[in-house]
């Protein structure tokens, strides 16, 4: 029997660096490895001994695409350790900032990184000649996300305005109001985009994964709630470490996560969020989900781009509501005194749940830091899904099979640099 290998040396249109290796024995898939060769940056170690106020600035640098998620998870965890209660206004503005990041990240991924796979282009830029309206729309949506993060965060990449307790400065009512017309246009454009991607041709694939995401009784999950799973479990954030476990594997600098109780991987991200919280999407997003007949429990990872579209619509609608009502007369932040303690928090980064845990001392210094980014949690599930997918595409010619594997990996929008503690495709046949 001949041994075949499929190898993708450098996975493209993903954030960070990694590769993919597949080994086959005849038609039997022997091994699938998602190889993260992103150099480790050791954030958890370098945070130790630093003032707790450094956490939002430093952890933002783990990932340039989702710095807000890092900042939000770290400030929430610190506030828990310090016993700080934030005001409802600050909480709302934090959700607004989060909407900005979802718009920016989903807008970029859908138009420039993922759509080219369905339409047969090597990049969004190459796609621009034949689909100028769509690409320009994508760029404009992404820009809105950046403008919002820019206004409230001070800067689109690595915002400077987030701090433990709230914000350094709250923009004026006028500054918020200025964004309203663009966001009104954006809401409609996001609906158009979602209809557009819902019309793509999707390959069949059923994932057997367990979906996991935050869930909150009355809002679409972003920065608060319990961990809900598709098998019906609800897990308090304080039990995160006991329920979800990371393991190191030899072929990757990112750790692999499994559910402790089942010993099996799980899936985070837009597909999980929409599947588990559809009834809490904003009215336009919910209506759109029904209109395009999005499955109540969608198990095809290729279709995650549609879930992303629904969340894009949701983010615009929620952002608009906050932007219109914003009055800006409150105190920007809550002050606190140092106390020793442990704090943890999970928030929904565009790619899935991000968990932070810190231990701090009486002088406000970080004693221990523990960060579990979404990609490292998803990685094991991606390998399982890939194995099923390779079985389906393996009769194809080598380079074609490798390309199809790469497409699947991109569907998860993996963020490789953030898997600090991820792509090439190699298929090997024997």
């Amino acid at each position: 029997m001949t041994e075949r290998k499929i190898k993708v040396e450098t996975l493209t249109r993903v954030e960070g660096e990694g590769g993919l290796y597949v080994r086959l024995q005849g038609e039997q898939v022997e091994e699938v490895r998602l190889e993260i060769y992103e150099p480790p940056r050791l954030f958890e170690a370098l945070l130790r001994g630093r003032p707790l106020e450094d956490a939002p600035d430093i952890t933002a640098r783990i990932c340039g695409i989702c710095p807000v998620a890092y900042q939000m998870s770290s400030v929430h965890a610190m506030e828990m350790a310090l016993g700080v209660e934030i005001t409802p206004e600050i909480r709302r503005l934090r959700r607004l900032l989060y909407c900005g990041e979802w718009i920016e990240s989903h807008g970029l991924h859908m138009h420039l990184l993922h759509a080219p796979d369905f339409l047969g282009f090597e990049s969004g830029l190459a796609m621009a000649k034949q689909f100028p309206d769509e690409v320009n729309r994508g760029l404009r949506l992404k820009k809105h996300g950046n403008q919002l993060v820019d206004l409230l965060g001070g800067r689109a990449i690595h915002p400077v305005n987030v701090c433990v307790g709230g914000f350094y400065r709250i923009p004026s009512r006028n500054e918020f109001q200025k964004l309203v017309p663009d966001f009104e246009w954006g809401l409609n454009a996001a609906i158009e985009t979602t209809r557009w991607v819902a019309g793509f041709e999707y390959p069949e694939l059923e994932s057997e994964c367990e979906f996991v995401s935050l869930s909150h009784p009355d809002e679409y999950p972003m920065n608060e709630g319990v961990m809900q799973t598709s098998s019906g479990d609800q897990i308090e954030i304080s039990d995160y470490r006991d329920e979800f476990q990371e393991q190191q594997v030899p072929h990757s600098t990112a750790l692999h996560a499994i559910r402790k109780t089942t010993g099996r991987p799980y899936l985070l991200g837009p597909l999980s969020r929409v599947n588990l919280n559809r009834d809490r999407l904003s009215p336009s997003a919910r209506k759109l989900a029904d209109e395009i007949a999005f499955e109540p429990e969608c198990r095809n990872p290729h279709r995650a781009i549609i879930a992303r579209g629904l969340e894009l619509v949701h983010s615009y609608e929620e952002a608009l509501q906050i932007l219109r009502d914003e009055h800006s007369t409150r105190q920007p932040r809550v002050t606190y005194d140092y106390q020793a303690g442990v704090g943890m928090s999970a928030t929904e980064a565009p790619r899935g749940t991000l968990f932070h845990r810190y231990e701090i001392d009486t002088e406000g210094k970080i004693v221990e830091a523990d960060i579990i980014p979404p990609t490292s949690q998803n990685q094991a599930q991606i390998e399982v899904d890939l194995k099923a997918w390779v079985g389906q595409v393996i009769e194809k010619e080598e380079s074609q099979a490798a390309r199809l594997c790469e497409n699947l990996v991109r569907a998860y929008d993996p963020c490789i640099s953030c898997s600090t503690h991820f792509l090439n495709v190699t298929i090997e046949r024997s």
């Binding site: 249109r13 954030e15 150099p39 480790p40 940056r41 370098l46 990049s123 992404k142 030899p250 920007p332």
Partner: protein, 263 residues
């Protein structure tokens, strides 16, 4: 005529600096028209081998493999330009240059032996000759477009080397140190952000690295007069540009002085 060939490479980094190129929405399609993007894995699956006219390099050198990879990129590139604090100063990950790398690895990984890393995280210029360094964590996208433009026009790119303070005066931001007693690295930090932090009511934390004629000793003394300890000031300098010559020298001096005082 052939368009100039542009390539974007990544080492240890967060992708934020290369994302700045995708974030230049209004200029992106124009840039993509003016140059041929022949290697940019974050944006396109189209990948060509060198030679390249401009290589943009993000990230610092932290693994033996990367130390070799940068040599080939240098051979392939006419102009090699580093983008961001990681590539020009080692980045936040350079904090391990002061620590025991093995202990750091053990703190994060159960089996550190699976992973090969160097003792230090170093800027690109410590490995190969660099034609231009663009500062910032992240870089400023307008500066990036301007630098690419000048390189293509055969001009020497210029970016301002004055301190953040001057920009505060220009935009009329009230000094956060004078008015509120907030510790600020603005006097020793290079401009490039349009004095962002003070305009949001906080002190600069030095993300563009040292300004040209930064007097760090003088700033430390001022901060001490305002009540900061040497250890606190050293911590402020040990940030995204910790391993830049000026910040490194001053934080080392402060730590030594403190050690001497303690005897």
């Amino acid at each position: 005529m052939c368009k100039p060939r542009l390539a974007v490479f990544k080492f240890a980094s967060c992708d934020g600096c290369q994302l700045s190129l995708l974030d230049a929405e209004d200029h992106l399609l124009a840039v993509a028209d003016a140059v041929e993007i022949v290697y940019f894995p974050e944006a396109t699956s189209h990948m060509e081998e060198g030679p390249y006219d401009i290589a943009l390099v993000e990230g610092s050198i932290t693994t033996p493999h990367d130390a070799e990879r940068i040599q080939q990129i240098r051979k392939d590139a006419r102009y090699l330009m580093t983008i961001g604090a990681c590539a020009t100063a080692g980045g936040i990950q350079a904090l391990r240059n002061w620590a025991d790398k093995d202990e750091f690895m053990q703190a994060v990984y159960a089996t550190p032996e699976y992973i090969q890393v160097l003792e230090t995280s170093t800027p690109i210029a410590e490995h190969v000759q660099v034609d231009f360094e663009l500062r910032g964590c992240p870089i400023n996208q307008y500066q990036l477009i301007e630098v690419i433009r000048s390189l293509l026009a055969g001009q020497t790119p210029r970016t301002p080397r004055h301190s953040v303070c001057l920009d505060c005066k220009r935009r009329g931001t009230v000094c956060v140190t004078v008015a509120q007693g907030t510790a600020c690295l603005g006097p020793v930090t290079q401009s490039g952000c349009h004095a962002l932090c003070p305009s949001y009511n906080r002190g600069c934390y030095g993300c563009f690295g040292p300004a040209l004629q930064a007097n760090l000793v003088s700033l430390s003394e001022q901060m001490e007069r305002e009540g900061a300890s040497k250890a606190e000031i050293a911590h402020k300098l040990k940030n995204f540009n910790a391993y830049s010559h000026a910040f490194r020298t001053e934080s080392t001096r402060l730590v030594q002085l403190e050690g001497d005082q303690r005897g």
